[in-house]
Amino acid sequence: MTTRPDVHSGVIHDIGYRPYTGPRLGRRYATRSLYVQSLRAAFGLGRSGKSKVLPFLLLGGMAAPSLAMLAIALFTQQREMPLDYVDYLASFSVLPQIFLAAQAPVLMSRDLRHHVVPLYFSRPATRGDYVAAKFAAMFSALMIVLALPLLLLFTGAMLAKFPVGDNLLHLLYGLVSAVLYALLYSAIGLLIAAATPRRGFGVAAIMGVLMITRALASITYALNGGFDPMRADSASWVFLICPSTLVESLVNQLFGLGLDNSATLHAPGAAGAAVFLAVLLALTAGGYALTLRRYRNV
């Protein structure tokens, strides 16, 4: 025996417990971390591969037509886009709706279902911070989905040398419209998603609310002579009940878009636009307040 017991070729040191002496960044930082984590989760990042499929499919589905339109516009040497920025969002409005229905429960119901919420509340961030971070994350995610095709369209328009001023103005209209969609959708979607720990229920309920109100609005609009050649402005009041038509008709009226086109939805007159805007803001604020209330006793 030549090896002495105290000779080792390698030793694993147990360095024991090391206390943390570094900075503690507090509540604002925690809220920001929750925002980033939630925004990533909305696109399935940091989660399983499977959960990335749907959000990116929807993002792609939202952006792809804009590329196709660009290609056609360039190829056929047109002087303007077949669809304006605001019209684009209205035409493809179902995709952001599906995104909302699928991903709002990812942000809210999962935390409820797996009882993670009490863990958050046992840390510096408050209930208000939690709802704010989640709302900001949902809003940002929707903005990415809504604004990406608009920015692609604008880039294409610049490449095709369409008039800059006009395009810039209409891009702005489109972005305002995107902000309004994102605000209202986030408030409604998160409120519904926060009501149930079951993701499936959340998805179905959000989709249901958006689809049924849309159908109701269309039917009532038609019954009130909305599609008649001499349509009465009063028929347009029904657009108030549906989130997507509310934003669409408000933006069109606000910016005077397609006023000569009977197929374009409009809020009834200037007073109507004011009411529509007030309702939109009230719904957003109300949804947010109710979501806050929901977490008061968790």
Binding site: P19, G22, Y29, A30, S48, P118
Partner: protein
């Protein structure tokens, strides 16, 4: 020793029930057991201590911070392990604990480093990269403990940490809790409705029942009120019908000792003095029996509850054991401490 938790007349009333009733208690650093039946108010107390739920009346301090006004500061320095499952199944332990560290205010790099350290300390190695849905209950409890410790709090509140664990897992968890204080220097408040495990782990016990404080004192004062000697003997080597236990009980009682049976075949003898050991040895030898076991045993904390429920009855039946009265006297003395 510094005061970690202090409450003064803490009361929490819900519309129908009073969850906490004028609770006044002071707890020093160390491992403290919060004992009470289900619905005794343990979880309510934890919520109030975290500043999550306002007390109806009374005041309290955690780490010298006021629970009513300094909730965020408390929550930055305190870790909390909830009773229920709180782990999303599609996320790995590492990712989850890193996120929770950042939610406690740790910068990203520190959060990752502390997560690796903490998961190692609670005994989670390669499996920490797998989604938590596939973890055993024991592993899940470890992750829950890790997320409570990751930001190096000065106090952790552990709500039923041994729930759902098998005996081995339970012992490991208790050893871990002991280490949290002994090695990590973090004070621990641990709740349970199982008393046996607390007396091995805790320095101090707080017993609440129906929202009221029953007792708050050191574990030693609960358990050392009277010393007992557990005695176990063999059957008589020749005479099969000889009742060894009965004979020994008779002998020892005759010698002026208090003897009672504890389950099958174990006799508990109260230690009157050093001579007791000799008396037992000689009695066993005289009877020609073999001595299997002769060990000191302390009173179990569980006896507080069994004796309390007998209390009313006992008022009428004085003298059903001097030992019990002695124990109660000692317990009353302990309350002053």
């Amino acid at each position: 020793m510094s005061t970690v938790i202090k409450t003064d007349g803490l009361t929490k009333r819900f519309s129908r029930v009073t969850a906490l009733d004028r609770l006044t208690v002071e707890v020093e650093s160390g491992v403290v057991g919060l004992v009470g039946a289900n619905g005794a108010g343990k979880s309510t107390l934890i919520k109030i201590l975290l500043g999550l739920s306002p007390a109806t009346e009374g005041t309290g301090q955690v780490l010298g911070l006021d629970i009513a006004t300094q909730g965020p500061a408390i929550r930055e320095r305190v870790g909390y392990m909830p009773e229920h499952d709180c782990l999303p199944p599609d996320v790995s332990a590492t990712e989850f604990v890193v996120h929770m560290a950042r939610m406690s205010g740790l910068p990203a790099a520190a959060a990752r480093e502390r997560t690796a350290d903490t998961l190692r300390h609670v005994g989670l190695y390669e499996e920490r990269y797998r989604p938590m849905g596939g973890y055993s209950t024991g592993m899940k409890q470890r992750v829950k403990l890790a997320q409570a410790l990751v930001h190096d709090p000065r106090l952790v509140l552990l709500d039923e940490p041994t729930n759902g664990l098998d005996p081995v897992g339970r012992d490991e968890m208790l050893a871990l809790i002991r280490r949290v204080h002994a090695d990590f220097g973090i004070s621990v408040l641990v709740t349970t409705h199982l008393l046996g495990e607390l007396e091995r782990t805790c320095d101090h016990l707080v017993v609440i029942d129906g929202g009221k404080l029953l007792r708050s004192s050191s574990t030693a004062s609960f358990t050392s009120a009277t010393q007992l000697l557990a005695v176990e003997v063999t059957d008589h080597p020749v005479d099969r019908d000889f009742d060894a236990d009965a004979a020994l009980t008779a002998r020892l009682t005759a010698a002026g000792l208090n003897v009672r049976a504890d389950g099958s075949r174990v006799l508990l003898v109260e230690i009157a003095g050093d001579g007791t050991y000799d008396t037992v040895r000689d009695a066993v030898d005289d009877l020609g029996l073999g001595l299997i076991r002769l060990e000191q045993r302390r009173h179990r904390v569980a006896e507080i509850f069994s004796t309390r429920s007998d209390e009313d009855q006992d008022e009428h039946e004085r003298g059903d054991g001097a030992g019990y009265d002695a124990y109660r006297a000692a317990a009353a003395g302990g309350e002053q401490a």
